[in-house]
């Protein structure tokens, strides 16, 4: 593993080094694992990248539940490939976080013990097959807005992971949209199912971009250090401007009576977001929080003997090679 060079505000040369560091970021240079970085930069990145990795790992559950029920060979193959990609994204991201001197085991332990967060969106249940389409189109659509921004991130390993992830997410988005548009023009039951899914996922999707800028204390520092290059409200606006016209065109109606187009700014403007619910869900009081963590813990516990066997086998192979 690369030796980390971390600066603390009490270090004698901190001010000088911080200036160099910020100048590099301002020039658009990437910060790489062995480079000097402020402790707070590292802490924010570990928090964000590990949360992101956990989101992929937990995010396999709501969609994975529908692999066995996918209604055609093509949809089943697509969904398998998509959930497989999510596992792959989790893997790149855990590796990206490892470059900051934290192990996958530590990150997994933090998740399973309830000390780490993952994207709030996965604390909602997938009730019908249409949810899979809506998640692909809207939830992944919002994720892509965020991830395209993170591909510009100042930390090299995170930025490069994002470039790969975005390429695959584009396919997730496309397949979701294609399914939703098909069902929106389908049988009466299909149309009802897809509108119902939109009703349930709309607000949680808008909340995915995070609190309003005025309630997001980390944002200014994250912007200055190039960890983020856009604010939460900017991301949300980009999402709305792309997706609202397409939803309306398909005959689907977002469940927001105040949603309107603003001629002056060219933006779609949403009504009040139910933030009380957001804060409740994020603090553990959502419909699926317990179930998601329990599923992760159960897989972890049931896999323990397998991981022990792998290690024992590995040790034996090494010992034999040494003989």
């Amino acid at each position: 593993m690369v030796r980390l060079r971390i600066g603390y505000p009490e270090d004698p040369d901190y001010g000088e080094r911080l200036q160099e560091f910020e100048a590099r970021i301002a020039r658009g240079e990437k910060i790489e694992p062995g480079d000097w970085m402020p402790a707070e930069y590292r802490r924010q990145l570990v928090r964000m990248i590990s949360q992101h990795a956990h989101s992929e790992w937990v995010g396999m559950l709501p969609e994975g539940a529908w692999i066995p029920r996918a209604p055609s060979l093509r949809r089943k193959l697509i969904l398998l490939a998509k959930v497989q990609d999510e596992a792959g994204h989790g893997q790149y991201l855990y590796h990206a976080a490892e470059t900051l001197g934290v192990t996958r085991e530590e990150m997994v332990a933090a998740l399973l013990e309830g000390r780490a967060k993952y994207s709030n969106i996965f604390n909602y249940p997938t009730l019908t097959w249409a949810d899979v389409g809506i998640i692909g189109w809207l939830v992944d659509g919002m994720a892509i807005k965020n991830q395209t921004m993170l591909a510009q991130c100042s930390y090299g390993p995170y930025s490069r992971a994002m470039v790969r992830i975005c390429a695959e997410e584009t396919f997730h988005h496309k397949q979701g949209k294609e399914a939703v548009l098909l069902y929106a023009k389908g049988s009466p039951k299909q149309r009802r199912m897809v509108q119902d899914a939109l009703n349930r996922w709309w607000w949680p999707t808008l909340m995915m971009a995070g609190p309003h800028d005025s309630d997001s204390p980390h944002t200014p520092l994250l912007l200055r250090w190039g960890i983020k290059t856009k604010t939460n409200d900017q991301i949300r606006q980009e999402f709305l401007n792309e997706h609202v016209p397409e939803l309306l065109e398909a005959g689907l109606v977002p469940p927001d009576p105040q949603l309107r187009y603003d001629e002056k700014t060219g933006n779609w403007v949403h009504g009040p977001i139910p933030w009380d619910e957001f804060w409740k869900v994020i603090s553990g009081e959502g419909p699926m929080n317990r179930h998601r963590l329990e599923a992760r813990r159960k897989a972890h516990e049931e896999g323990r003997w397998v991981r022990e066997a792998l290690e024992a086998y590995g040790r034996r192979q090494l010992a034999q090679a040494a003989d």
Binding site: G64, P68, L77, W305, L310
Partner: protein, 253 residues
């Protein structure tokens, strides 16, 4: 190639059996996705399920060329009693040892069958077998390595692998039972001879298992035809077909 009606009927039955094994096994594999013991195996098992399902699609498309049937209708709207899969693949997923021992037993069979089937006098079958065989070699490597690691890992993993083998081994032998009318297919050089493959299989698989320290059991119940199933098939298919059957008016999914 012009097939007489008798050969065509027998070939349809073989293609259906091949596809049904893959569909049902893919269903059991997909139950693991998101719940594997390590993240890398979530990736691997999703990949296996895609490959098996891809093979099923390929066999059903060959069937469709012969009788005009629609692969999706066959998979998602056919009754459980018409499924022709072997019992081996329908048993519940069990623990990781059960899943990997089953996968090994199936992969070793499929790899051999596909290798021989590349010589089929029916060109579409020979070509399909060649395509699938490339993937199946990787599957076999993956599952054989898991069986070895579990057999030689800890006492617990060895015990679990041996227990899985006791349950599963007799069912693997069902894979080699000829289907009704299959002698004629073999005679015409269209498909491999199941009983000849069985001898080679028992030798290769038995040898590997003993080398890694497992004991293939003697005896055990071997289902006599592909009409035989366990109580597990109905609920597996009920879940798999639930969305497709939910809306009879839906024209497309």
């Amino acid at each position: 190639m012009n097939l007489d009606p008798y050969l065509k009927e027998a070939l349809l039955a073989r293609l259906t059996a091949l596809a049904d094994d893959e569909v049902v096994l893919a269903q059991r594999l997909s139950e693991w996705v998101g719940h594997a013991p390590i993240l890398e195996e979530d990736i691997a098992i999703a990949n296996l399920a895609q490959d098996e399902l891809g093979h099923a699609k390929m066999w059903l498309e060959l069937r469709g060329e012969l009788d005009g049937s629609d692969p999706d209708r066959l998979v998602f709207l056919r009754d459980p009693l018409e499924y022709q899969n072997a019992v081996l693949v329908e048993l519940p997923k069990g623990d990781w040892a059960f899943t990997m021992v089953r996968q090994y037993l199936f992969d070793a069979y499929e790899e051999m069958w596909l290798k021989e089937a590349q010589k089929s006098a029916y060109a579409p079958l020979a070509e399909a077998a060649a395509r699938a065989h490339r993937e199946e070699r990787f599957h076999l490597k993956h599952s054989a390595l898991w069986v070895e690691r579990l057999a030689q890992g800890t006492e617990e993993s060895h015990r679990r692998a041996q227990e899985a083998l006791e349950t599963l081994f007799p069912y693997a032998r069902q894979l080699f039972q000829p289907l009704p009318g299959e002698e004629a297919l073999v005679e015409a050089g269209l498909v491999p001879e199941p009983k000849a493959l069985e001898g080679a299989y028992l030798e290769a698989v038995g040898g590997f298992l003993r080398r890694v320290g497992l004991r293939p059991p003697e005896g055990g119940y071997v289902p006599k035809s592909r009409q035989e199933h366990t109580e597990y098939l109905w609920s597996l298919l009920a879940e798999m077909q639930s969305v497709a059957r939910w809306d009879p008016e839906a024209k497309a999914w």
